[in-house]
Structures are given as structure tokens and as C-alpha cells.
Amino acid sequence: MKLLSRDTDRAVWLLYTKEREVLLFLVRTGERRRGANPATDSDGLGIEDLAETELEAWLREHRNSTSKEITDRLKDPVSCVRGRGGHAWTLVNGQSELLLQVLNELRISAWKRLGQPPEVLPDPLPALGTEDYIDCWIMETASIFQSQLLQGLESE
């Protein structure tokens, strides 16, 4: 993923064909795995906790709509134009920032499902199951896209 051009309200990104497939698969897999997180139970909560629950619901709704907007944009042949060897993907009005949020949310959700491991991992590493490997893949792949996106956005 590489920034091709940018002005005040739009950015055009080059996505190789395989990158586009991986990005779509990543978002889809991350959304499916997000369902593995237990829902918050608001029974018997105080006012502050209830406000927290409302905030969580608002953030969840924001993340769902953001994720859908990005996926729709990626599938749209007008905004994601296929060329030789890749796609020119146009993001407008802060959608590059939304993509950044989506990728970060995927990483954080996967990290939570992995039990919130610390920065320095224990040695030996705990045994991992198949689902854990999927979450490790989500974390790593999302961070690759995130780094490429940041590199483009932070370039002067």
C-alpha cells in the first residue's frame, strides 16, 4: 500500500491486487472474530458504569459503521479502480483516518482476545491454539497496513 497523491480532501492509494484481497479478508476476519469478545452486562451498574456502557455502545456503533464504510469503498469499482497490477483507491474526507482507526481497532481486539500480552513476551511463550494464531495474524497484518498508511499520511 503506497500513497500515490494527496490534496486537502482526498488521498489516492496504490493497492496491489493481492494487498486489496488481504485487506478485505483482514477486515472481514477481524469483524467475525470480534464477536468472540464477551458483551458487557449492564445489570446492577452505577451511573458512572452506565455512562461507560453507553460510551462503549456508541464506540461500537462508530466502529461498525466505519468498518462498513471502508469495506464498501474498497469494493466499489469507482473508488477502487483496477489498473495494471493493482488498484488506485481513492479515499475522501478523512476516510484515510477512518481506515487507520479500523486497522487499529482490529489490532486491539485481537490483542484483547490473546489475553492482553505485555510488550515483552514471556519466555517460553504460552501455548497457542488455532484461534490464537488467527489473532496473531490479524495483529501483524493490521500493523503492516497501519505502518504503510502512517508513512503516507505523515509524509510532507
Partner: protein, 99 residues
């Protein structure tokens, strides 16, 4: 809420109006976590507060090394707005009454 709401780009300015100073009774804090990438945190600060890279990196390092950083002092509504913006980026942000 529309997910395409434009992100704010206000710079935090010095305030000379005494009433405004009085109203700015809340601080926005960002807390360290072991998962968010440092360049990402810097970028988010620049985006949300309109800071230059130097200022954003200073606060990012403070979060990373000291566990938290006081980002801005504002009235309740504005502080709450900033907290929500930071939370949209999955940063751990809270607001507290200033001392």
C-alpha cells in the same frame, strides 16, 4: 453519528479571558498501553489537536515513559469531545477535574 464527521484541527491556544480560564476546569489525560504503536499515537495527537510533530512526540513520549500525559485543559464539553475523539482511535483517554 456519521462516521465521516471531519476531525477537528484546532490548535490549543493561550487564553487571556478570565472567564474562559475559569471554565477550563478539566484536563484530558492519555494513558499508556502496551499495544498502540508510538508513531500511531503521535499521529493521533497531531490529528486531534492540530499539534506540530515536536509537540505531539513530546506527549507521546510522556505517555510511554511516565504512564500518562496531560494533553489539554478545557471546559467540560470540549474536554469530553477530545476524549471521544481519542477513543475513536482506540487510545485510552479520560477527563478529570483539574486541581
Amino acid at each position: 453519528m456519521s462516521s465521516t464527521t471531519e476531525l477537528p484541527t484546532p490548535a490549543v491556544e493561550d487564553v487571556t479571558d478570565p472567564k474562559e480560564i475559569h471554565d477550563r476546569g478539566y484536563v484530558v489525560l492519555c494513558w499508556d498501553d502496551p499495544v498502540n504503536l508510538m508513531p500511531y499515537v503521535t499521529h493521533v495527537f497531531r490529528q486531534v489537536f492540530g499539534w506540530d510533530r515536536e509537540r505531539a512526540e513530546k506527549h507521546m513520549r510522556e505517555v510511554h515513559e511516565e504512564g500518562k500525559s496531560v494533553l489539554v485543559q478545557e471546559n467540560f464539553e470540549k474536554a469530553e469531545f477530545y476524549v471521544h475523539e481519542l477513543q475513536k482511535y482506540s487510545l485510552t483517554a479520560t477527563l478529570e477535574p483539574s486541581e
